[in-house]
Amino acid sequence: MNGAGLRRFGLGLIPWIGAILLWYAVRWSGFVNVSLIPAPHQVAAKFFELLTKEGLLIDIFASTRRVFLGVALGILVAVPVGFLLGWYRPARTFADPMINFFRALPPIALIPLVIVYFGVDELAKLVILFYASFFSGVIVMYEGVSQITPLYIRVAQTLGANQAEIFRKVIIPLTVPHILTALRVALGVAWATLVASELIAAQRGLGAMIQNASTYFLLDVIYVGIICIGLIALIMDLILRKITARLLVWQDRAIA
């Protein structure tokens, strides 16, 4: 790491240190019952205990896999659907209210129905995550695609491009940024929906772990679960951002 990178890393660390200090401060302030807030070091200890003795990695893996599959399937469908809706204005006027209707429904509210139709197994959890990813992704896609200016297509036409060439050489490059944004948004939403999806009789998974802990009032475990979800979501987003930056070097961005 070079000097500038090290400095950025250091700067990025400051708010985290601040958050931990604040956490201690709230405990020591006496405003809140100390037994209701496990200290950061206690949570860290719990983390290692769960990691070594209770198979925390299995939970992490189970949840990550669910999110991954849900997002992958959701985006796989959202990209073509969002593209068509963005490209054909009549399709959009037609489908827009419906998409907004379904998007507004909180996944938790759908759980009873999902259980009725899809049972309580892995499939049911995937359906919830798919639902959340699809509707958040499809909107990003069609908003983005509908913003594409006809200028570049016109230029290509005057240079002699046929329909297939326009699609391959103009429309796809212009769509890639929107696919990546849709992916990022869907990933965020899917992590936010994970706990809800694991309300459905999950054995393992971070959401399941949190729920079990809440039954026994194990606050430190709940904290570990929440922090794990946040951290993994953060790491995935960072990776995706790196990939985006690599793929979209051509983009003129305010932030490098």
Partner: protein, 269 residues
């Protein structure tokens, strides 16, 4: 002389929220093979709209726009267009932008030749140092030159140029003008050029179409009495100066007409 393109009693109006907007009205003129037509008129009068009918992006409301005797049905590579907004592809490097047309099936350029052709136009436009840069790193004038290079590279027989040198400094602009004259000499193209510069119109064109404030009607069509090949010395000739003051007067009249039209709108609110 063969007629390449014809505007035949062409009118075009747009439906807008405020009602119908007449943009082009009863325009008729022919463009013959080898002609260099310059179109000049006040901003917003309908020049780009007129050109885009010939490019194939807009259909006349009444009348006909013909290319090679047939109504224009859509865009095609035989009519190269340099857009007012440049339209350089931001996701391609400078060199890839120039090569874009060469990679299309319609142009039948063998793979082995593409590289040399793009390098040639890179050099002509003074963009060699930026071959592998993305357009976001280019200045406005460089983008404009890139758009020109990309259009020249596929060697269209008919060039539609919408204020192609507008963003260039005086020196580069005159280089580009001379380069265009040289390209025309060797490749024998037909050109329709929109410009705001009276000097540029006279220096380059064989015929100048002066259009009125919106809706664009033909105010006057002027034959430029200088033979090709031309060089800058014609700008010293007395005919040049006379023509210039005549056209300036026409353009100025239309500019005033346009201001008079706009005033009640801009000050009443």
């Amino acid at each position: 002389m063969t007629k390449r393109a014809q505007f035949d009693k062409v009118s075009l109006s747009f439906d807008t929220q405020k009602g119908r907007l007449n943009v082009v009205e009863d325009v008729s003129y022919d463009i013959n093979d080898g002609d260099f037509i310059a179109v000049i008129g006040p901003s917003g009068c309908g020049k780009t709209t007129m050109m885009s009918m010939l490019a194939g992006f807009q259909k006349p409301t009444t009348g006909n726009v013909l290319f090679d005797g047939r109504p224009v049905a859509g865009p095609g590579p035989e009519r190269g267009v340099i857009f007012q907004e440049y339209g350089v592809f931001p996701w391609l490097t400078v060199k890839q932008n120039i090569a874009f047309g060469l990679t299309l099936n319609a142009n039948h350029v063998p793979t082995a030749e593409r590289d040399a052709i793009s390098d040639h136009y890179l050099g002509l436009m003074g963009l060699s140092d930026f071959a592998n840069s993305y357009p976001k790193h280019l200045s406005g004038g460089m983008r404009q030159r890139l758009a020109i290079a990309r259009a020249y590279a596929v060697k269209p027989q008919f060039l539609l140029m919408d204020e192609p040198f507008g963003a260039l400094d005086a020196q580069t602009r005159s280089n580009m003008q001379n380069l265009l004259l040289k390209v025309l000499e060797t490749e024998g193209k037909t050109v329709m050029l929109i410009t705001h510069s009276v000097e540029e119109a006279i220096y380059l064109a064989s015929r100048i179409v002066v259009v009125t404030a919106r809706p664009a009607r033909i105010k006057e069509i002027i034959d430029v009495p200088f033979a090709y090949p031309r060089d800058e010395s014609i700008q010293e000739r007395s005919e040049f100066a006379e023509l210039r003051s005549h056209i300036r007067q026409l353009v100025m009249d239309e500019y005033r007409a346009q201001q008079a039209q706009m005033r009640p709108v801009s000050f009443s609110e």
